[in-house]
């Protein structure tokens, strides 16, 4: 107990050096004073008494030293002193300190951030257990087209599952959209029917309440529903009292029994409701086909599962030959691969780039430390001469390096946290990033980056100490101050600079290529004007009395009222979200022999769609209002259609047969239409692919059905949302607008988000790399120049030209840059090929990009060389000579 007390007090005293020292001094003085009094009492003079007292006492300093050792921990006091000294030294050279810390911070945070993203998005995007064994099954035909799957009729998939041993368990889901009559008006919810084992399958516990099980799926069980976290926040404000409340969906009441935690987004539902595994067991379940996912049994590979399924499928195909194409195969794909697909390539590229950045950063710091080392050799030699032990000097340098590293690491960790937040906002969910993904800092990577950075800092920070103890101390204080070791150091530093330049080139070229791709992508003419357009779905509740006519009238009224809203320029109705979401159909054109695989996109719309989207008519005309109202058999085709299927013939007036329409659940008899107009192509396959043939038909042909509302406004489209909702409520209070979004945002999310993301991230790294390189070059040259100050001064004093000196320095620097350039370009030729998957319309060896990057680095090099050169010649010769 008392030993603990002693230890604590010793610890405390280590930080109270001043006070303890003063007290000791007073105590010893008092002691000496008493001794002196005693000697005076014995008859000595005051002066003699004082001396006698001192002799009698013994060595004052030795006594004090002993007391100092006993009263605190010396190593702690030394450490404190070292830290103080280190801080002061670092503060004296603020530029170096800040640059070094910033460099370390950048390297560490960049690696950590991007690896965290990689881990969260690619490696572990789902919170579900066993997600590495989660698979989708699809059936493909001989041309590799997807025939069926992941949606299968329940009894078919259950047959596969029972016969195959590859699957551990299976979950089936189907999506539905239901109208919810809530307190705040009508809203459409995405409802997912899920087999009762679903929550077990996914292995996630509910946050509130409970999830459903097999008993809830029985035919006469009360209807229960589990809510998604996001929907719960959005529609119920996160109120825990939601349990037990009723949701009236499409007229039926469901009781909410649970809420899932965040990140659980299976099938991106607002609400999950139980459905029997086999719909024959429960007539309530909506559809016969379900999307099926399965877990592979441990140890079973996807390939094995495929083999099993092919065998079983063959057996079933004998009984149901119509359901299988003549040649088919099963494909089992891991869901992770399915979702992440080629985003993986993006992230791995970025990780490669970022690792380069860390290396560059460490090179920079190393260089800076080496430069400092040489400058401080003198100081260290003097300290050794005065009596500092080798270990003491090494310790002090270690402390300094540690302080530097600590500063860099703290800044790096902070930047990493900030960067993660920022990046999480930028990431495009749904585009290779699963909805369940949450970007979090990956701690092991932070630790790794910290270790790497710290190791390089310590390693290079110790250099001067190692140098000084190896060489003769006297040589260090030599006036000349330069030895072979110094030259070796310069070579090492020059090598580092060359490496930095090379790596920077690789980064810059990569970023440059991505930039070209992005610019080209963005420059693609969409074929329509996406600005100021609002798109929203309109869906009707399933009403028995809704006839096509009645619905048509409702649509007409909605369109008319919407058009009258102030700020609205034009309103149209269409299916899908143009330019996406169209159906495909085979084609026949009487009088023209078409290959059997001829097909076109089919879109149903009102007469003002082209006007609303800003698509011009190339020939002929659009629909008229009467034609839409009365569902005339007229069609508008696009340019691609005309060119591919009509060739040189004039399409106007010709008839086209859209075969698929005759086979729809509510078939359209004799689906022949007369072409009345040709519209310009839009990028209906995205900006990277050429447009496919497309045909527009009046939407009234497909009523009753749900269509989307497309509205062009004068300014911000979202501001029209509330007035539009009001107008729709007036026409029919049970019709709701769902998922409103601006066309611009939709385009951005689907076309550019991923490319933009890559570009942004890589661009940041490339710029940082270039900055670091500039600093690196500058550092080396500044040091070289400072070492040659004497020579330069003499040269100038003897009448040399400053221009000549500048050229000398610059030439040295540019040699390094040139070497780095050549190496970097060589490496790039090899590595740029890796970027191919992300480039579009740009060759990996694009000469323009190469030229720009080379010029950029050359310019940076020249500037970074010129500044120290200029400073060198401005130094007064006499001052320079005296400086030694």
């Amino acid at each position: 107990m008392e030993n603990l007390r002693r230890a604590l007090l010793r610890l405390l005293t280590a930080f109270r050096h001043g006070r303890a020292e003063r007290e000791l001094g007073r105590e010893v003085d008092a002691h000496l004073g008493e001794l002196q009094r005693e000697f005076e009492r014995r008859g000595l003079s005051p002066e003699d008494a004082r001396l006698a007292a001192k002799r009698s006492f013994g060595g004052v300093e030795q006594v004090k030293e002993q007391q100092r050792d006993a009263r605190s921990f010396r190593w702690l006091e030394d450490l404190r002193r070292d830290v103080g000294y280190g801080l002061r030294t670092l503060a004296r050279t603020r530029g170096f300190t800040i640059t070094a810390m910033l460099t370390l911070a950048l390297g560490i945070s960049a690696v950590t951030v991007i690896y965290s993203v990689l881990r969260n998005v690619v490696l572990e995007p789902f919170p579900y257990t066993r997600s590495d064994r989660l698979v989708n099954v699809v059936l493909r035909d001989s041309s590799d087209k997807q025939v069926r799957g992941p949606y299968f009729p329940a009894e078919e998939f259950l047959f596969y599952q029972q016969q195959a041993t590859a699957f551990e368990d299976v979950v089936g889901t189907s999506r539905d959209s239901m109208l919810w009559q809530g307190d705040n008006g009508a809203e459409r919810l995405d409802v997912v029917w899920m087999t009762p084992n679903g929550f077990d399958f996914l292995g996630v516990k509910p946050m509130l309440g409970r999830v459903f099980d097999a008993s809830d799926a029985a035919p006469d069980a009360p209807r229960v529903a589990v809510m998604c976290h996001r929907a719960w926040l959005r529609s119920f404000g996160g109120d825990p009292g939601v349990l037990g409340r009723t949701l009236v969906l499409d007229g039926t009441a469901w009781t909410i029994i649970g809420v899932m935690p965040p990140r659980f987004e299976w099938n991106i539902a607002d609400v999950w409701v139980p459905a029997a595994m086999n719909p024959a067991d429960d007539p309530r379940t909506a559809r016969g086909t379900r999307a099926f996912q399965a877990h592979l049994r441990p140890g079973v590979s996807a390939k094995e599962a495929e083999t099993q399924l092919n065998v079983i499928g063959a057996r079933r195909a004998r009984d149901y030959p119509n359901e299988y194409p003549p040649q088919y195969r099963f494909q089992v794909i891991k869901v992770i691969d399915w979702v992440v697909r080629d985003f993986r390539a993006v992230l791995y590229t970025l990780f490669g780039a970022v690792s380069l950045l860390l290396v560059i950063a460490c090179c920079n710091v190393a260089n800076m430390l080496l430069a400092r080392a040489t400058i401080r050799e003198r100081e260290i030699a003097i300290r050794a001469a005065i009596g500092a032990s080798r270990s003491r000097i090494v310790r002090q340098l270690l402390v300094e390096s540690a302080l530097l590293a600590a500063g860099g690491l703290i800044a790096g960790a902070l930047m990493a946290y900030g960067g993660i937040h920022a990046l999480a906002q930028l990431l495009p969910p749904g585009q290779g990033v699963s909805w369940e993904t949450q970007i979090r800092l990956d701690r092991p990577v932070l630790v790794f980056a910290v270790i790497v950075a710290a190791a390089s800092t310590f390693g290079f920070g110790l250099f001067p100490a190692l140098q000084s103890v190896r060489r003769d101390i006297a040589a260090g204080t030599n006036v000349a101050g330069r030895t072979t070791a110094g030259r070796r150091q310069t070579r090492m530093r020059s090598g580092l600079v060359v490496a930095q330049v090379a790596l920077s080139i690789v980064l810059l070229l990569g970023a440059g290529l991505l930039m070209r791709t992005f610019v080209k992508l963005v420059g693609v003419d969409l074929g329509f004007d996406p600005k100021h357009v609002l798109i929203a779905g309109m869906a009707f509740p399933p009403r028995q009395d809704m006839t096509a006519d009645a619905q048509r009238q409702i649509y007409r009224q909605i369109v008319e009222r919407a058009a009258a809203v102030p700020g609205v320029r034009s309103v149209a109705v269409s299916n899908g979200l143009p330019p996406f979401g169209a159906m495909t159909s085979a084609l026949e054109i009487p009088g023209i022999a078409l290959p059997p695989t001829s097909e076109a996109n089919v879109r149903f719309c009102s007469e003002r769609l082209l006007e609303t989207l800003g698509i011009p008519i190339v020939k002929g005309r659009g629909f008229s209002t009467i034609e839409v109202e009365q569902a005339h058999r007229v069609a508008v085709i696009n340019d691609a259609f005309a060119r591919r299927y009509f060739g040189s013939e004039d399409p106007l007036g010709r008839v086209v047969r859209v075969s698929r329409l005759a086979t729809l659940p509510r078939p359209i008899e004799d689906p022949t239409f007369q072409v009345v107009g040709i519209m310009r192509d839009v990028v209906n396959q995205g900006p990277r692919e050429p447009p496919v043939p497309e045909v527009l038909l009046p939407f009234s042909l497909r009523l009753p059905s749900g269509f989307g509302l497309i509205v062009r406004t004068a300014d911000d489209p979202m501001r029209a949302l509330i007035p539009l909702r009001r107008e729709i409520q007036v026409v029919d209070p049970q019709v709701a607008l769902s998922n409103p979004i601006t066309l611009e945002r939709l385009i951005q999310m689907n076309f550019y988000a991923r490319a933009g993301f890559s570009l942004l991230v890589l661009g940041i790294f490339a710029v940082t790399g270039a900055v670091l390189v500039a600093l690196g070059i500058y550092g080396v040259l500044a040091y070289t120049v400072s070492q040659q100050t004497r020579e330069i001064a003499i040269r100038l004093a003897l009448g040399g030209e400053s221009g000549h000196v500048i050229r000398m320095v610059v030439r040295f620097g540019l040699q390094l840059v040139a070497a780095g350039l050549v190496i970097g370009l060589a490496i790039s030729l090899a590595t740029n090929r890796l970027l191919k998957t992300q480039l579009w319309n740009t060759s990996p060896n694009d000469p323009v990009t190469f030229a720009v990057v080379v010029l950029l680095i050359a310019t940076i090099g020249v500037v970074a060389c010129w500044v120290p050169a200029r400073r060198a010649v401005r130094v007064q010769p006499m001052i320079a000579l005296r400086h030694e």
């Binding site: 008392e2 030993n3 007390r5 002693r6 007090l9 010793r10 007290e23 000791l24 007073r26 105590e27 008092a30 002691h31 004073g33 008493e34 001794l35 009094r37 005693e38 006492f57 013994g58 030795q62 006594v63 030293e65 002993q66 007391q67 050792d69 006993a70 009263r71």
Partner: protein
């Protein structure tokens, strides 16, 4: 003979606590000089207690909480630090005394029974 002295000092460290505690408990509060003078007086021959060791012992005992130091004025009007035994110190003194006596008794017994 510095090495001899050193050996003796190390031997004493364990018992030095005992000596100082006992001295302070019988003499009452003392400053460093007073304590050193008294110990010198008591010893038969020059006591190899150098001041360094004494100061170390005082710091140690104070950190352990067995003695307490207070600044007071001496007769000469000087400020000095007076040490006194604390209650835990008194208990420690008893413990150490008992241990010493047991040790001494045991060693004496061994010495007496030498053939």
């Amino acid at each position: 003979m510095p090495s001899e002295d050193r050996a003796r000092v190390e031997l004493l460290q364990g018992t030095l606590d005992l000596i100082v505690l006992r001295a302070l408990s019988t003499m009452g509060p003392q400053h460093a000089y007073g304590l050193a003078a008294r110990l010198d007086q008591l010893a038969d021959h020059p006591f190899p207690l150098n001041q360094g060791t004494l100061y170390v012992a005082l710091v140690r005992l104070e950190h352990k909480g067995w003695i307490k130091g207070a600044w007071q004025t001496t007769e000469a009007g000087r400020e000095a630090k007076y040490y006194s035994v604390t209650r835990p110190g008194a208990r420690a003194l008893d413990r150490q005394t008992e241990r010493w006596q047991r040790l001494v008794g045991f060693v004496n017994k061994l010495l007496l029974h030498e053939p």
